[in-house]
């Protein structure tokens, strides 16, 4: 029996700096056979162990079919993530995972896809966008909606520009507070929803971001005609084990780590509006 609680040694093969605080670690298990066996779905996460410091849950952002390496895009904000940001190629860390359920990518095939992210950029959503981009012919229209508070909060602006030039792809970005050169919308991101070029009744929506934002977004999407059962969202809670034991990630009866982090909207819609649950 494999012990899900014990990490496995992995090596940083490449470190990509995405912004001042965001970086991507491209990893490989040291044990070749483990690496070969390793399978995941976008939306799933690993527990990353920084030697002597601790573990944090981080989504896998690379493509599941990319066998050579797997990637984590991480924002350095606290103890562990700041420490992780100092890792360099050749450095080692521990990995447990993958854990949780990923995005419903098979169900979404043949349908329009609307991806809504909020806040400071959202790794789980990036993994879906990458996934769809690489299999463009399998999906219908793709709409990417990103909202930020301040224009400066937007990272990866070039990516949004690049994506917006792709066929059958619509990118809508909004900032509550803009700047002089801000090329996109200023105002609540939800004001843009009506412009989405999708067939609402045939759309699968995937959301990631602050809970309040996702709740409002869901209301707007429902107004567009997207059915609740086709809306998915990725939740975030404190996690210490990743396998539904430590209890930290509970929201109502759900363990975000194993019942999620990706949920169907219907599973959590009653819980989302309650503060402090």
């Amino acid at each position: 029996m494999t012990d899900l609680m014990v990490p496995h040694e992995a090596e940083v093969v490449e470190r990509i700096s995405e912004s001042a605080t965001i970086f991507t670690l491209r990893l490989r298990f040291r044990d070749g056979s483990r690496h070969a066996r390793y399978r995941f779905v976008p939306g799933q996460f690993n527990m990353l162990y920084l030697y002597g410091v601790g573990e944090v849950p981080i989504s896998v952002v690379s493509d599941p079919q990319d066998d050579a390496l797997f990637d984590h895009t991480i924002r350095a904000i606290g103890r562990v993530t700041r420490g992780l940001s100092r890792l360099q190629p050749g450095d080692r860390l521990g990995i447990r995972g993958p854990f949780g359920c990923g995005w419903p990518l098979e169900q979404a095939q043949g349908h329009d896809v609307m991806i809504v992210t909020g806040g400071l950029g959202c790794a789980p959503a990036v993994s879906v966008i990458n996934y769809v981009m690489r299999r463009r012919q399998l999906f219908g229209e793709l709409v990417i909606v990103q909202g930020v508070k301040h224009a400066e909060d937007l990272i990866w602006a070039q990516r949004y520009h690049r994506w917006s030039r792709m066929e059958h792809t619509q990118v809508m970005v909004a900032a509550d507070v803009g700047t002089a050169l801000w090329p996109w919308h200023v105002g609540p991101v939800t004001e843009l929803f009506a412009q989405a070029r999708i067939n609402a009744s045939d759309t699968v929506a995937m959301m990631c971001g602050p809970e309040g934002m996702m709740r409002v977004a869901a209301d707007h999407m429902r107004a567009l005609g997207i059915v609740e059962g086709s809306m998915w969202l990725s939740m975030e809670r404190s996690m210490h084990c990743g396998v539904g034991r430590c209890g930290h990630c509970q929201i109502g009866g759900k363990f975000v780590c194993k019942d999620g982090p990706v949920f169907n909207y219907t599973q959590v819609k009653d819980l989302l509006p309650v503060r402090g649950l």
Partner: protein, 266 residues
Amino acid sequence: MGEPAVMAKKPRVAVHKFSSCDGCQLAFLNLGEDLLRLSSMVELVHFAEAGPVDPDAEVDIAFVEGSISTAAAIERIRSVRSRSRFLVAMGACATAGGLQALRNLADGAAWVADIYAVPAELDLLASSTALAQHVRVDLELWGCPVSGRRVVAAVRALLFGVSPVEEQDKVCLDCKRSQTVCVMVTRGLPCMGPVTRTGCGALCPRFGRDCYSCYGPAENSNVEALGRRLEGVGLSRTAAGRRFLSINSAAPPFTEAGRRRAQDHE
């Protein structure tokens, strides 16, 4: 809490002392073999009690013991701050003004007049205050005295280049983890564990007595509910107030909870 910058391979460390009993510095001197190990991992540039004296040295990490209670001390802590990349306030004196902060509560006229009668060079201030009231503090290690385990853990974390963990849960948690029998529930002792920060490993209950909060307030401490309970187990209102006005009397939730009870008495 401050973030440690990447530390030098062998960081320079200073241990400074302000108004205190020296007990927190002993966390280093009592490390035994680990003291020698530590001294090979860091460069101890100022630590008067252990030998090296260079109070003005630029350092990566400064551990500061003691409270600020003279005008000269204010100057000195500012100077220490400006020369230290990561400053750790170590112990109840440095984090909350210490036991000697009880004088902050004394009614102005009496004590302060006495204090001003001392030789001018003493420049004793009317209050004894925590470092954070004067300078930015990157990490607070509470406790009277601070625990050696936590000092070592802080050094270790900084050597790894990450910020040390802050412990702020309540003593009760550690009390139960050590399977200690609650002295409040079984004996009606006026235990401060439910509002006191962990770090000691629930020492007092393990020794069959009530915690007297030498580690200061935990996060989200319901001092009012505990105050009522202390009276419920038989303390007079002033005696319950004194439980808060002790080693960490100047820590905000305690000052209020204690003072209210002291005043009611008058």
